[in-house]
C-alpha cells in the first residue's frame, strides 16, 4: 500500500464563525504526510497576522506557514506606516493576493484559508479565501478536508447574534464532528475568540471533546445517554 510519504504535510479542518460581538476561529491540530500522522498535538493552525486578525490555515503546511509570515511582515510595515493596525479586509485581501497569484505554482495543493478578526470599523468579520483566490465575506466559513462533512451541520446550527460561549461551543462541536469523520483531522481543537476586548485562545484536548459516534442512542425517556458511561478503550481506569 502506498503511504504517499512524499506528499507535503497537510492540514485538516478549520472553522470561523461570527457572533454578536466578534468572531470565533477554530481548527483541529493534526498534520499528516500522506497516510502517516506526522503530528497530532502541537500544531497551531490559527496564526496571528495583526493584533486582532488571525488566519486559519488548511492545506500544505510549509506553504501556508510562509504565507502567514509573509503577510504578517507586510502588515507590520503597514501598521507602522498608518499608525494603527490593519483592518480585517485589508489583511484578507493580502492573503487573497498570495493565493490568487500563486494558484498555478507547483506544490500548492489544496489551499484554503479563513481570515477572521475584529476591527473598529466593521466589527467582527470572517473572510473565506478559497482555493484559487476567491475571497468571500461570510457570516461563517469552513475549509479543509474535514469541512465537507460538516457543511450541513453548520448551515443548521449557526444562528445570527449568538453569544460568545454559544459560538465557541458551536465551533468546538463542528470541529469534533469533522474529526470524527475525516481521517486527516484529529487531535485537539484550538479556538481563538476575537472581539473588541481582545483575543482569547483555548485548547480543548482530545479526551474533552464531545463524543461523535454513529452508535449514539438518544431516546426521549432516558435522562442520560449511553455515551456518558462509554470509555475509550485505552483510557486508564479511574
Amino acid at each position: 500500500m502506498d503511504l504517499h510519504l512524499n506528499a507535503p504535510y497537510c492540514m485538516g479542518t478549520i472553522v470561523g464563525v461570527t457572533y454578536d460581538d466578534g468572531v470565533v476561529l477554530g481548527a483541529d491540530s493534526r498534520m499528516t504526510i500522506g497516510m502517516l500522522v506526522a503530528n497530532d498535538s502541537v500544531s497551531d493552525k490559527i496564526t496571528q497576522l495583526t493584533d486582532k486578525v488571525y488566519i486559519c490555515r488548511s492545506g500544505p503546511a510549509a506553504v501556508l506557514e510562509f504565507v502567514s509570515d509573509y503577510v504578517r511582515n507586510i502588515l507590520d510595515q503597514q501598521t507602522i506606516q498608518f499608525g494603527q493596525p490593519a483592518t480585517v479586509k485589508a489583511t484578507a485581501n493580502l492573503v487573497r493576493l498570495f493565493s490568487y497569484k500563486n494558484t498555478n505554482a507547483i506544490q500548492m495543493g489544496q489551499m484554503g484559508m479563513i481570515v477572521g478578526g475584529w476591527d473598529k470599523y466593521e466589527g467582527g468579520q470572517i473572510f473565506a479565501v478559497a482555493q484559487g483566490g476567491t475571497i468571500l465575506k461570510l457570516p461563517y466559513a469552513i475549509d479543509g478536508s474535514g469541512s465537507s462533512g460538516i457543511e450541513g451541520f453548520l448551515d443548521r446550527a449557526w444562528k445570527e447574534g449568538m453569544s460568545k460561549d454559544k459560538a465557541e461551543k458551536l465551533v468546538v462541536k463542528a470541529v469534533s464532528l469533522a474529526i470524527a469523520s475525516d481521517a486527516a483531522s484529529g487531535g485537539a481543537v484550538r479556538t481563538v475568540t476575537i472581539n473588541s476586548d481582545g483575543v482569547r485562545k483555548n485548547c480543548y484536548p482530545p479526551d474533552s471533546l464531545p463524543l461523535c459516534d454513529d452508535k449514539r442512542r438518544r431516546t426521549k425517556t432516558k435522562k442520560t445517554t449511553t455515551t456518558r458511561t462509554e470509555r475509550r478503550i485505552d483510557a486508564p481506569k479511574p
Binding site: N6, R96, S99, Y100, T103, N104, A105, I106, Q107, A128, A130, Q131, G132, G133, T134, I135, L136, L138, S148, E151
Partner: protein, 237 residues
C-alpha cells in the same frame, strides 16, 4: 506522483483549472434598457459550496457586468474595471465610459491574456444604456466577442437562448422581460446541475442600476407520473 525538480519557467504553457465557479448568466435588452439574471451559487467542482456569490455587478454609471466561470478571476476583473472607471472619473471631463467601451476593454483584456496562455477563466456578459442607446454584448475566455439582443453564458446558451430567440421582442416591458427571464431561469434550474434556486435579477436603464435581492423560483413537481414512476413496470424508474 513523484516530486521532481520541475523548474517553472513561468510563461510557457499553463493549464488553468477553475476552482470556484459560477454557472450561467442570461442577459437581454427590453424596452427601457437591459436586464440580466444569474443565480448566486459558487460551485467547487460538483459541490455547491457557496450560496451567496453575487455574479452581477454595476460598472461605472452606465453598465452592468455578469460573469460565469472562475470567481477569483471575476473578482480580479472587477478590480481592473474599478481602476479603469476611477481613471475615467479623474479626467473629470463630463464624459464617462459606456457599456460599449467596457465591452471593448474587456475583449482586449481577455484576448491578450489568452495569447499569453494565461486566460481569465470567465464568460462575461456586459450591458447598459448610455444616451438612450441600449447595448448588450458578450466576451468569452478566449476573446470571442459579439453584440446581440440577448446573450447567455455556459448552459444558458443551450437552454435559454432558444427560448429567447422564440419569444424576445424589442418592446418587452419590464414585467414581461422578467417573466421571460424567469422562464429561462427555471429551465436552467431543472437542467443545469450547478444551478441553485436563488437568483438575482439586475436591470439597467437610463436612470440607473437596480439589482434585486436574491429570491427563489417556484418549481412544479405536481405531475401524477412522478408519484409512482415504476407503476406498470416494476424495476424500471
Amino acid at each position: 506522483m513523484e516530486a521532481s525538480l520541475i523548474v517553472d519557467n513561468g510563461a510557457t504553457e499553463r493549464t488553468l483549472n477553475p476552482y470556484v465557479t459560477g454557472t450561467s448568466v442570461i442577459g437581454m435588452k427590453y424596452k427601457d434598457g437591459v436586464i440580466f439574471a444569474a443565480d448566486t451559487g459558487g460551485s467547487y467542482g460538483s459541490t455547491l459550496r457557496y450560496k451567496s456569490v453575487e455574479r452581477i455587478k454595476p460598472i461605472g454609471k452606465h453598465s452592468i457586468l455578469g460573469a460565469s466561470g472562475e470567481i477569483s478571476d471575476f473578482q480580479e476583473i472587477l478590480r481592473y474595471l474599478d481602476e479603469l472607471i476611477l481613471n475615467d472619473n479623474m479626467w473629470d471631463d463630463g464624459n464617462s465610459l459606456g457599456p460599449k467601451e467596457i465591452h471593448n476593454y474587456l475583449t482586449r483584456v481577455m484576448y491578450n491574456r489568452r495569447n499569453k496562455f494565461d486566460p481569465l477563466f470567465n464568460s462575461l456578459v456586459v450591458g447598459g444604456v448610455k444616451n438612450g442607446q441600449k447595448y448588450l454584448g458578450m466576451v468569452s475566455m478566449i476573446g470571442t466577442h459579439f453584440e446581440d439582443n440577448h446573450v447567455a453564458t455556459g448552459f444558458g446558451n443551450h437552454l435559454a437562448r432558444p427560448l429567447l430567440r422564440a419569444e424576445w421582442r424589442e418592446d418587452l416591458s419590464f414585467e414581461e422581460a422578467v417573466k421571460l427571464m424567469e422562464k429561462c431561469l427555471l429551465v436552467l434550474l431543472y437542467r443545469d446541475r450547478s444551478a441553485i434556486n436563488k437568483f438575482q435579477i439586475a436591470k439597467i436603464t437610463e436612470e440607473g442600476v437596480t439589482i434585486s435581492q436574491p429570491y427563489a423560483l417556484k418549481t412544479n413537481w405536481g405531475f401524477s407520473a412522478f408519484q409512482n414512476p415504476s407503476k406498470g413496470a416494476e424495476g424500471s424508474w
